[in-house]
Structure formats: structure tokens, C-alpha cells
Symmetry: C2
Subunit: 273 residues, 2 copies
């Protein structure tokens, strides 16, 4: 989910993030590439984290060569383990800075980025870099999907969840990110030098309704709130230990209720090169 | 769209509403009924308005008998004209109150309702009435889709659009409706006496990105703001004529920009009976 960055994830948060795959996180791109499933594409996943989306690209495009990069070298062994468990061979992971990708111009047919730009100070510079490494052959694309945290719809809106939303928003904004990334993607792409006619834009939703999904999501956040970096940032930004306890308790209550749900809009763009 | 109620629509607003069909407004229900396209279902569209969704149900289920009802008798000739233009015969429209539907218990296989409950004071009573007229045969369903206006994501967020959002929210709430209907559907269904195991919940988005769609949406609202009931309600609620001009101008500017978009989450439930 958009509000949890890829940095320093505690275990429970990683469990949640590893639920992500190309089918639930990049359906718009799979649709766009539906005629190219057997092509020998070069695909880049920029900000791959633990690699579950990257690996599902490698499965969905068996003749492709897929590269996943992440700024964190310590996540790479986990990504490689995910690939090995899935039995995919057409994949590699390496450490790389999104703003200085270690690839020649026009190296990839498809460059993908998911829930990353919402956390960075210069999303347009990142887009320019992704455009640079993407081939200029008409059929090649840069595809991005980002959450829009301001649209988070939680029911019931328990007071501890309202507090948590405020904390998570301040963490995102404090790190230079934005809570309205999803709706800004077209604007960012235009500022990165793309023409509007190259862009196909869409929105989709990410939601939790089932008891299992709600528990996984809530437990990830509770770990984050109780002893993860969000705890330290919350205390540092003026929340009290009681506030943080309220947030954790509210997520527990929310996950246990049968009337509860969470959804958030995600913006999507496909930029044709 | 959710924020425009079905009452007293000026012409431009009607043009917008008539873009709605089963494919873009009830995809979740079409998916659920994909095996029953040729069955002789009885389908009710409760709050049919000008009938475009109702008519597309009649086309999608050629052996069904489709009934559309609306509280406004003056919209029925338009709905019948839409049906005649489409050449569908398996359809009828009649005036009816959602809270006192003129049908026996267990009359319909499928009862549908779209962008209606967000505007009413007693959504749970409406759901109970829809459940009453729906057959109790395991395969029969009540299906509802409602916008969640608090999740409206507009870019760029021009000051006149922020003002407009406030006006539209106050009109919805002033009429007894709510700006968080989408996320409350499961809760409402539980309160209407349904078990959680009967409910399948989902979210989808409604969005405008293309110049044509943005113009249709903006022109509908501009008419509404300049001389429709929203104008009167705005003035009555303390907005000035200048405020209303700002809103109309902002929608014009928004529609003309190439970086602009609008999206909103919609909640969806299918209740099996």
C-alpha cells in the first residue's frame, strides 16, 4: 500500500507487501501488453523492494528478461529468494538509485514503477530517468502506479485511525513525498517532457474487505506503530505514547469488525515512447 | 456521478448522466451474473432516472424482463424514449417510491440501485425494501453501487473547485444524504438484517481524463451552478454570486487543461438472498 514506504520494513509489513503481484498491482500494464506475452521484452521494475511484482512479471512474460532494482541493497537477498522459490530464471536484481539508473539510454522495452514516486522529493526527475532508459520504438512504455493517500476511505473511522492517518501523512510529507501522488501522475509526466498524447491515464482501487486481508494489513501497521520507524517518527513529531497505543488498538478493533473496510484510489499512467 | 442527485437535472447534467450504462456503472454485477446472460431473470433498477443503465441491462440480458422505477414521474418519458431509441422491448418504467415499492415480496431475481442511497436519509430502510422484493432462492441478489464523495480526487485542485466541493457536500448532507456512502454499504446491509456471509463487497473508481469526458462533466456542473437548483441552494446557504462564478470558471479552466483529471471511489455490494 502507498502509505508504507519500502524503507526498513518490519517483518509483518513485509508480509503485507509480498501480497503484491502484477495481477493486483499492474493490471493496467498487463492489459496494455496482452498481445506481447511471448515477446522477448526487457522489463525494468524500478523500486522492486522484495520483488514479488517483479517475479510475477517474469512469470507473465516467460521470454522476457526482467530486472528489478532497489536503493536498498539489504532487500535484494529477499527478492532473490522470492524469485528462487517461484522458480523463475529470467530475472535479476541489483542495487540502484532511481535517479541515476546504471543503464544505457534505451535499454528497456517496459519500465515500471509502483508505490515509489509518492515517497520521493523529485518525482519528475525520476520519471525523466525512467524515460531515458526506455527504448524509443513506439511500442515501448514507462508505466507508473501510485497511491493517492488523501483518498483513503476507512470504515468505521475510529478516532485512533484518524490519528494514524495524520501520522502517516506527516511521515510521507516529512520525507519529501506527497499524499496526492495518484492524481498528479499526468502532471508529473508532462513536466518530465512528455506530450499529453503519449499518456494513457487511469485510476484503480486497492481495498481490504476480507478478515484475512484486514488482519494482514492491520498487523503490519501495528508492528510499525509499536516498534518500527513510525513509532520513532511519531514520538519525534509530537504524538504521545498513548496516541500511538490508540492507533494500534484502533487497527486491532478495525480488523476484528465485520463491517470494516479500507480502500484507496491509485493513479496509473502508461507513457508510450 | 454521485454528487449530482437525480432531482431536477438541467439538460447538460442529463447528458452526463446518460453516459452511464451497465458496463461502466455495474461491471461488478455483470461479472457476478456472467453465467446467467440468457436466463429469464426479472431485474429491477430502483432509482432508474433517465434509464440508460436500465436499458443496457435489458440489452445485456435479452431474455430478462427489466423494470425501472423512479420517484420522479417526469423523468419516465425520457427513460421510455431511451429504451425506444435502443430498440429494447423487454423493459418497462413506472413511478415508484424506493421506500414503498409497489411489488409483492420476492418479485425479482436481481434488484439494483446506483448512486441513489448516498442522497437519502434512511438508506437501511431502502435496502430492507429492496431485499423484500427480491426472491429468496440462493442465486438472487440485491446489488448496490454508491459514490464516496469524500474520496473525490481532483487535479489541479483550483480554489473554485475546493469551494464547489464544499457546496456539493453541503447540498448532499442538507438533503439528508452522506458524502461517505461508498464505504458504508456493508454496514448498512448488516443493519438491514443481512449476514456478513451473504455480502460480497468491492470498490471501483469513476474517472475523467479525456477532453470530451471532462467537458461533458464540467458543462453539466456549470449549468447546475449558474442557474440550476445548486445555484439557489448555494445562495441560500451563504455562498455569494462571486463564489458561484468562481466555481463555474474553475470548472471551465479545469476542463480545458491537459493535466487535469477527476476520480472518485465507488463502493459496491452484492447481497445474496
Amino acid at each position: 500500500m502507498a502509505e508504507a514506504g519500502p524503507q526498513q520494513l518490519p517483518a509483518a509489513q513485509s508480509v503485507h507487501h509480498e501480497l503484491r503481484n502484477a495481477e493486483n498491482s499492474a493490471a493496467f500494464l498487463l492489459d496494455h501488453l496482452s498481445e506481447r506475452r511471448n515477446d522477448s521484452l526487457r522489463i525494468l521494475d524500478a523500486g522492486a523492494g522484495s520483488g514479488t511484482i517483479t517475479v510475477s512479471f517474469a512469470k507473465a512474460f516467460p521470454n522476457a528478461q526482467v530486472t528489478g532494482v532497489d536503493i536498498r541493497s539489504d532487500i535484494l537477498p529477499r527478492a532473490r529468494a522470492v524469485a528462487e522459490t517461484a522458480g523463475v530464471k529470467n530475472i535479476e536484481f541489483q542495487q540502484a538509485d532511481l535517479f541515476k539508473l546504471p543503464f544505457d539510454d534505451a535499454s528497456f522495452d517496459v519500465t515500471f514503477c509502483h508505490q515509489v514516486l509518492t515517497h520521493v522529493k523529485a518525482p519528475e526527475a525520476a520519471l525523466r530517468e525512467m524515460l531515458r532508459v526506455t527504448k524509443d520504438e513506439g511500442t515501448c512504455v514507462v508505466a507508473v502506479r501510485e497511491g493517492d493517500y488523501d483518498t483513503e476511505a476507512i470504515w468505521p473511522n475510529l478516532s485512533g485511525l484518524v490519528k494514524f492517518h495524520g501520522l502517516a501523512a506527516s511521515v510521507m510529507e516529512g520525507g519529501g513525498g506527497t499524499t496526492t501522488a495518484g492524481r498528479q501522475l499526468v502532471s508529473w509526466a508532462l513536466n518530465a517532457g512528455v506530450n499529453r498524447s503519449q499518456i494513457t491515464a487511469s485510476f484503480s482501487s486497492w481495498s481490504y474487505h476480507t478478515p484475512t486481508d484486514k488482519q494482514i494489513w492491520a498487523q503490519g501497521l501495528i508492528t510499525h506503530i509499536k516498534r518500527g520507524p513510525m513509532h520513532e517518527r511519531g514520538i519525534g513529531a509530537g504524538w504521545t505514547a498513548d496516541d500511538l497505543d490508540d492507533m494500534a488498538t484502533a487497527w486491532e478493533d478495525w480488523a476484528a469488525r465485520e463491517d470494516s473496510s479500507l480502500s484507496m484510489l491509485h493513479g496509473e499512467i502508461i507513457v508510450k515512447k
